[in-house]
Amino acid sequence: MSDKIQIKDLDVIFGRRVKEAKKLVDQGLSKEEVLGKTGCTVAVNNANINIQEGEIFVVMGLSGSGKSTLLRCLNRLIEPTRGTVTLEDIDITKADSAKLRKLRREDMSMVFQHFGLLPHRTVASNVAFGLEINGYPEKERLEKAYKVIDTVGLKGYEEMMTGELSGGMQQRVGLARALANDPEIMLMDEAFSALDPLIRTNMQDELLTLQEKVKKTILFITHDLDEALKLGDRIAIMKDGMIVQTGSPEDILTKPADDYVRSFVENVDRGKIVTAGTVMFNNPERLRLKTAGPATAIRKMRAVGVTSLPVVDENNNFIGFVKDEDMVKLQNEGEKSIEGKVYKELNTVNENVAIADLLPLFLDSALNLAVVDDDNKLKGVVVHSSVIAEMLGKEQEEVKQIREDGLDNVNNEEGGNDNG
């Protein structure tokens, strides 16, 4: 996939003394300092984003973080102070008004938080608005409008006035209007933020389904991290006009760039986003069923400090786990093979499975969980404690501490130590 849109060194500064403000920004002064010294608001500060074709790129930030301003620089509803926005090889920031109009009419369309529908027109006429502006004859534009209205699930409402519709339906009209001129890029400004929670979830699902079909390049703005994590192929987090982190939803959750991001992701339902692949131990120590004996097993376990190890065949296909106590027993009995004490027919998971879905599997067994690829080749091992740590959003060390405290309090707790 290639970069569709490149935002480079973009600044937006509002106020009268922009020149001075620019200098102060270059000296690295904060938003408040610049405001105090010049009275200028730095809405966007040195933003760099590459948006790939066909992805949903989410910009998340609280109100006043400059995310909506950034979005409006793409179709120049707000003029950037410095920097460039390029769409493929077109420099949008340098486009004259005719070229800009063409861009707005044909290449990118926008969906608004408060819908921005024309209350004096019918649904169909609203949806056809972009086409009307672009000079399509009435018959053709209404034909297209009817088709798109069907796509967003509003069939039968074409001739109603928009004021007669509920919020969710109005935003469907907004979505249909944006889709009607079949743009490559859609700019969605808090598109679902004004909707009821249930309807919002609904619309998010439908946007994802729709995206499967239409494959637009979407820049989505939101203040809701859950929404960002759900919709975004990639996410940028903005604070005070600056982009603090860009990455996949998992990156944001598992490797927050700073305390600000960390404080954001703390309360997220991580279980649905973090996957087994993230929490597993890659390429773990393993035993070959045919070749390994109890002595090897015990030595390997001691070497890495674990109490169980995965067992594979000669082709690295996962077979099962062995435990240290069984191995000690076997060695004492003088057994040369580990075959008799391998726990087999265990559940395995793919590395894309969300960790929330791993929990039920842990219920069945005290053993670790093997992560395998589609051909049953062993890729990693997930241990209970890392899943718990990840779900809580805490570091492993912290979890250990919490657990030890817990054990001190409950003295009769069984001391089974089955973590890695």
Binding site: N75, L77, L103, R105, S109, M110, G116, L118, I133
Partner: protein, 287 residues
């Protein structure tokens, strides 16, 4: 301290203009005269009873159309007013004020038309230009607070006596709401709708005609209504400089201390006022 002579300089300026720009003023005189006489002739050419019927039908149509013309709701909305129009205008006819009433109506229509033709475009322009708005606003305040009679004096100097100075003074007096409410209406269009239209590549002209004016229409029409009502009140005052119509009868009533005449003419004006008010209010699109 000497008296500050503002009055003197104004007088000089007006004298200067009336001599230097006489050609221009003549053209305006002819234009207005043509307009007023034209409307007057049309209104008086039709048989009064036919005209009353037509006005009643017009009123009914405008008031009932949102509810369906021949439905119960439409009937409820429009029928009472239509009956009032018939009875009121028959009363005017019966009081032998028909000609005066039509003259007044012609003056109101002409003045309001001119005021709207100047005022609405000016209002649109002001809505798109903050500098112009800040210039126009105090002028409009001035025009509205200046006592109406004062306009009659320069109007006489420029246009002598008769209908024309009456219309000119009326236009000046009734113009402000057209500008003000058009400006207000367009500026009041929800910013997200304007932004959305721009984001789809609307040109300023498309934005104006497809979005701003349609959405500002209720406010603009409220302005139209006010212009017409102000015009009616001023046309009566303009009778002092010789404008024709019911105002003349009122004026005569005052001069002769004839209470009966004054009341009859006043009643006639009220009937016209109610008619004009309801009809222009009914112009507004359905909410």
């Amino acid at each position: 301290m000497d008296k500050i002579e503002i009055g003197n300089s104004v007088e000089q300026a007006i004298n200067y203009i009336s001599t230097e720009a006489s050609g221009f003023l003549d053209a305006i005189t002819n234009g207005i005269d043509f307009l007023v006489i034209g409307f007057q002739d049309i209104l008086l050419a039709v048989n009064p009873f036919v005209l009353i019927g037509l006005l009643a039908i017009l009123t009914y149509f405008l008031m009932a159309r949102h509810h369906g013309l021949f439905t119960k709701a439409g009937f409820k909305a429009g029928f009472g007013m239509a009956i009032f129009i018939v009875l009121g205008f028959l009363l005017l006819y019966g009081m032998q004020f028909w000609t005066e009433a039509m003259q007044t109506l012609a003056l109101v229509i002409s003045s309001a038309l001119i005021a709207l033709v100047i005022g609405i475009p000016l209002g649109i322009w002001a809505s798109r230009n903050d500098t112009l708005e800040s210039i126009v606003r105090p002028i409009l305040d001035f025009m509205q607070t200046m006592p109406a009679f004062v306009y009659l004096i320069p109007a006489i100097l420029f246009f002598s006596v008769g209908n024309v100075p009456g219309v000119v003074a009326t236009v000046v007096f009734s113009l402000p709401p057209a500008v003000r409410l058009t400006n207000l209406g367009i500026r009041g269009v929800a910013p997200d709708v304007v932004e959305a239209s721009k984001s789809f590549g609307a040109t300023p002209r498309q934005l104006l005609f497809k979005v701003q004016i349609p959405l500002a229409m209720p406010t603009i029409l409220a302005g139209v209504n006010q212009v017409i009502m102000l015009a009616l009140s001023m046309v009566v005052i303009a009778s002092m400089v010789g404008a024709a119509g019911l105002g003349q009868a009122v004026y005569k009533g005052i001069l002769k201390a004839d209470v009966g005449l004054g009341f009859e003419a006043g009643l006639g004006i009220v009937i016209l006022a109610i008619f004009l008010d309801r009809v222009t209010q009914a112009l507004a699109p359905k909410k």
